[in-house]
Structures are given as C-alpha cells and as structure tokens.
Assembly symmetry: C2
Homo-oligomer: 217 residues x 2
Amino acid sequence: MQKYISSEDIVAMEKQTRVHFINSIGGFKSVTLVGTADSDGNTNLAVFSSLIHIGAHPPLMALIFRPSPPERNTLNNLLETGFYTINHINETIYKKAHQTSARYEKEVSEFVATGLTPIYKNDFQAPFVKESAVQIGLAFREKIDININNTIMVIGEIVQVHFPENCLSKDGFLDIEKANTITCSGLDSYHITKKLDRLSYAKPDKEITSIISDYFE
Amino acid sequence: MQKYISSEDIVAMEKQTRVHFINSIGGFKSVTLVGTADSDGNTNLAVFSSLIHIGAHPPLMALIFRPSPPERNTLNNLLETGFYTINHINETIYKKAHQTSARYEKEVSEFVATGLTPIYKNDFQAPFVKESAVQIGLAFREKIDININNTIMVIGEIVQVHFPENCLSKDGFLDIEKANTITCSGLDSYHITKKLDRLSYAKPDKEITSIISDYFE
C-alpha cells in the first residue's frame, strides 16, 4: 500500500520522528569523516552525510553545517587553518565513524575517543584517517550562509587525493565500491553496495550500453 | 599500492578524465529523477545526483544546477511554476533514468522519450514518476548563486511524500533499501545496497548498539 504524507502531517510529527523521516527520504548519501586540527594542533574528527559535488574544474566539494555542536569544532578549525580532510568510511570502521557524532568536550579528540588513527602526509595541515582507503585534502574556499534555516555551506577545493591505485579506471572513474567505501541512509543506517552497471554517455535516439572499467594495475 | 594525486595532477588531467575522477571521489550519492512541467503543461524529466538534505524543520532539500543544458529546462520550469518532484530510482528503471540525461530538444518530453510515466496526484502541479516507489513533491523556496564556479543551488520545501507504507519504521526512518532505491557513484555507475546495520544515537563513553527497525504493517 502506498502511503501519502502532507506538509501538515510533517509539521505534526514528533520532532525526532520528523528528523528520522526527512533525513531518510532523500536517498542514499555520501558518508565520510572530516578531519581537522586547530592552530595548536589539537585534532577533531566528525562524521558528515552532507557532502556534495560542486564542480570538477576547479575541483570543488561542499559540506552543510547545522547551527549546533558538535559540528562547530570542525567548522572553527577549518576556518582557522584553511584546511580539512575528507576520508571514506568502510565496513571495518563505520561504528567508530558513527561514534564521532557523540558530543565530546572540545578538549577530547574524536581520534583518541574512537581509536581511529590521525596521519599527516605531504605537509598537509589537517589529519587524514589512516584506516580510510580514500583520503582527500581540501583547502577552504567559500562559506555561504543559508538563511532559510541558519545552516552554512562550506566549499573547499581538492588539493590532495590518496586512494588504492587498483581502483582507478583509465577513464578517470574511481571505483569506490572496489575501495570498500560504504553509503548511509538517514541518521544511522549504513549500507555496503553491489554494482549494477556503468552506463555509457546518453544521447537521444541511441541505445545505452555498459561500460567495462579498465583499471590500472 | 596507494596512489597520490595533487592539485597539479588534477589540473593536468584531460577534461573528461577529470570530470569522471572528481565526480567519483566524493562517495556514493543520491540519484533521483526531477519532474517538472512548464506553465503550458509540457513535462520534463531529468536525473540528478546532487540532492542534499538541508533541514527537517522546515523540511528542506537542495539540488545543484550546472550552467549548461539539459538541466536548464528543469530549472526554468520549477522557477516558472514554483513546483517540482523528486522520484527515487530502482533497478527496474535506472537505464531509463540515465537516458534522461541525453540532450533532447526542449519540445521533447523525457517521459515520452524514455517511456517513464508521468502521474499527477493531489492537485500537485508537477508530474511524479509512476514507476518510482518514493515520490516527493516540493515547493521552490530559495535560489543561491555559487559564484566560485557559476553553479546554482535550489532549495525546496517538501510538501508531499508518497512511499510504500511497509517501508516506514515507527521511529520515522523510511527504509529506502526496502523500497528498492538504488545509489550511484560518479557520472554513470549504479549500485544496489545491502544494509549493514542501524546504529544507536552516539554518546560519549557509551557503547553503540544496533537498532532493529519496527515497521508499520
């Protein structure tokens, strides 16, 4: 049976029910760990499911920040230093990744609290997560206030990418399923994936075909 | 072997290689069909992988629009009428969904070209996709220019949601895997999912436990 829910029904929901419902109806999401450090080198790690692709040239990604903690430490750190990392989550670390969403005191590093390992590479100012197969270093570029609900969009430019070489296809596609990256739904549901297909560039009046990825060895 | 790519390497990539690479490194994405009609009732349907959750109260979602067609028809229509739909993609229709990304002439409806079925419900002004299990009707709320690369973020408020009743958990979580919703990676890779777990709300010094979803019948 199909169920219909109206805007009045949504407003009438108990707060936590509405949060679960609205967070889960938008589809599967990127779920990653954002690593930062303040200017004294104190590290912070937070799970985000609001990552979005903004453009490839220049290579830009955005994150949405809500008005309340614990996301504030991440925001303060990346504005202070200008740098942050985005680290993919796999089946081995997703419980630790979820645990970073607990409201730890500012003095507590979520790296220490969860047992994930900070690692510094190539003189990049923010810590990567050693246990992540795909690690991205970003430089802060722009902060946009979303006034309608007091959220903030932060846009960063990709300046470093670390990934397993055998997951890169010769056409540029990085096979994140092969890298064991997982996805999430709603606030708390984690999922592995199984590839259906890669599809050819669509053109009018032309049949779509499968793309067989040709990986680097 | 881990591979390292710098910003200089990214700039030096051939354009289409860079587009594949940057689009795939951000993690799995929501992939949905956006349905619109112009004021004469001519329908349009386009696949988007840039959906993002903005907030639950009011219930808001955003989409990113690039400067070039074919996304322009969707943008023009939703600005003209104020309404649009977001429809989940499942294994049965993902090839048709991908085909909507072909650059059809403005007079051609992607519904007709791909064989997906427009359906109107509850006097909502934009067409839903009949073959989608989860259908969301939105009212346009805000357009934000992202000047750094000439993209546009469109924020809409959720005013209708249609979904299979047996996929709704009593805590508000909609089990989109149970509704056969799929996810995507990069420009052209489609994936089904397999749930690992739902995890309890994280608190400092408290062990995370599994949540067993209790569904409505």
